[in-house]
Amino acid sequence: MEDEKATAKEAEPNTDDISGGHGSQEGVLYLGIDLGTSRSAIAASNGVREFFASVVGYPKDLVSRKLLKKDKLFGDEAFAKRLSLNFYRPLEKGIIKHSDNGATHPEDAEANLKAASDIIQEAIRRSKPRSDELVYAVIGCPAQSSIQNKKAIIDAARPMVDSVMICSEPFAVAYGLDRLDDMLVIDIGAGTVDLCRMHGTLPDDEDQITLDTAGDYVDKLLYDKLRERCSGAQFTLNMIKSVKERFGFVGEAADPVVVEFPVAGKPTEFDITESVRESCRAMVPPIVQALGDLVASFDPEFQSTLKNNVLLGGGGSQVIGLAAAVEREMHEKLGEGRVLAVDEPVYAGASGALKIAHDMPAEFWEQLK
């Protein structure tokens, strides 16, 4: 026994010494982060571009922790193992859940804040920063998020970066595309639709409108419709979200949308074309209404220019035919309109934030350290 003990002691490695360390700081890594309700995207000046679902899970108990071999799981991996996890989707309508009413739900507020913080840190980790580089990050958040929420985001990022700033998400999209004048930006996320009027200066509160008729709203609408129309079918909101992301469209359908849902355990086909079209179409009227409000309160001389320079971005803009549908509705309600969809809706916010980070003068970063 004593011999075995001695062997075990000899074999015991230094379990604390498993991380590396670096010396002097060299190089500057800029990060642009789009912290979204549904997914978060990151673009970095080392060429890394990644996105993952904004969810995090913590093993429920010691057994699941040992099985999963991780303390935290993110994105698709967390979704896949969610039954063994305390699962968090900490952002709702573009802000950290309960960050504005922490006093009434202190435990929930704390848990969601931790989850959001872990997601931000995971996004930064995925950018593969070198420890000898300065890391400067710009994080996009919804146009009208509260000061508490902005503070929470900064607090979450600070331990992993040298300096951090936040900016309005739709502004980041516009800045990234160099469309700073007489432009209306629509950023459709899962939690919010952010509309922002660009007129050569940093947009203020009157230039921005945030709607909650975004991706999650469409998912719920489609879920409710299918509950009514697909008798006996079993599905979850998560399954509906995947269906929408795959087949979402407005206008004319190229092909019927046929999906399989289990009915009493047996996979059964359902044609859900009309439900998908109606649900996705529901986003259009509020957007055009908000566009109208932003146009109407603008200098009349430039209203027409504004209506003919509408930029559609964000993950939600990937719904097929959405730009054309908004344009049609604009013609009907506002007399005219021209809508362009950005090339890379998922990365438009992160790339814009990266560009802001790159352009920000050194002394500003220094002062925010």
């Binding site: 074999a11 000046s45 000061i147 936040i166 900016c167 352009d359 920000m360 970063w365």
Partner: protein
């Protein structure tokens, strides 16, 4: 007619070249393929073409020369030599970096193997200690304390009884009934006394044994507990190591210094104003956070 100063042209070219460099960097990153000999063998690949470092160096030098020519940048032979030398040094430094990363990966694997071995040793020890503990518990629970003494007591009682019988026989055919009763009562008293004495002795023995057993079991339990804690620590360390992967250096940024807007940028003053405002908003938040 406005004529752009030569410096602007050069700056603009420099910026274009930076953007080209960025593109080349991204392309290389995207198209680089890492593999190992085992997977190549599995795919039936027996030969692969490999660039030597001097060939790569020549290719990069050629590409740079072509780009410089394309952008009409004329450099003296000295500048070209300097550029080539700088490129060569950067390339060698990258190679060194790759070697050090490789070494880091190997160390990491060794560390991981060590941790796994440590964990397995601990698991084996815990299993053995658990078995010992069970055996020990069983032994102390079923220990036949006093069984031997009980037999001895029975024998003594038999001797007493036999003694009494022989004494009564010695008293003759019609012994005095009072004497017989006296003898019988005396033997009964002796029986009771013996019972009491033996029970007390057995109780004392039992408690001594129990204390010894408890002590041994406690020691074993503590040892097992310590081993379990050690196992947990080893598994935690292994988990952390697996999650962290080799302590990689990350991917270097394309920027060595802080950038920032330059007067040559398009819409410089407009963007400058916007960036100042963003900074100010963030400064206010920072002040509020304290």
């Amino acid at each position: 007619m406005l004529v752009r100063p030569r410096r602007d042209v050069l700056e603009s070219r420099k910026s274009s070249m930076n953007s080209i460099a960025e593109k080349i960097y991204r392309l290389i990153r995207e198209r680089s393929l890492g593999t190992d000999l085992t997977s190549l063998k599995q795919r039936g690949v027996k030969r692969v073409s490999v660039f030597k470092s001097n060939q790569l160096g020549s290719l990069v030098a050629l590409a740079v020369e072509q780009v410089l020519r394309e952008y009409g940048v004329k450099l003296s032979q000295g500048d070209l030599d300097n550029l080539s030398e700088e490129g060569r040094r950067a390339f060698i430094s990258l190679l060194k970096e790759r070697d050090s990363y490789k070494e880091l990966c190997e160390n990491f694997e060794k560390q991981q193997e060590k941790l796994e071995m440590h964990r397995d040793v601990l698991k084996g020890q815990i299993e053995r200690e658990d078995t010992m503990l069970e055996t020990e518990r069983g032994f102390w629970e079923e220990m036949p304390v006093g069984t031997g003494s009980e037999a001895y007591r029975v024998r003594l009682e038999e001797v007493l009884d036999r003694n009494l019988e022989s004494r009564i026989e010695m008293l003759g055919a019609s012994p005095d009934a009072r004497l017989v009763k006296f003898l019988e009562e005396m033997v009964e008293g002796l029986h009771r006394e013996l019972d009491t004495l033996f029970s007390a002795a057995v109780d004392e023995m039992r408690s001594e044994y129990a204390a010894e057993g408890e002590k041994r079991i406690e020691t074993l339990e503590r040892r097992v507990q310590k081993m379990r804690e050690s196992l947990d620590r080893a598994e935690d360390a292994l988990m952390r190591a697996q999650a962290a992967g080799p302590t990689e250096d990350g991917i270097a940024s394309i920027y060595k210094t802080v950038q920032g807007l330059t007067p040559d940028d398009e819409a410089f003053s407009q963007k400058k104003g916007m960036l100042e405002e963003i900074f100010q908003l963030n400064k206010n938040i920072k002040d509020q956070i304290g």
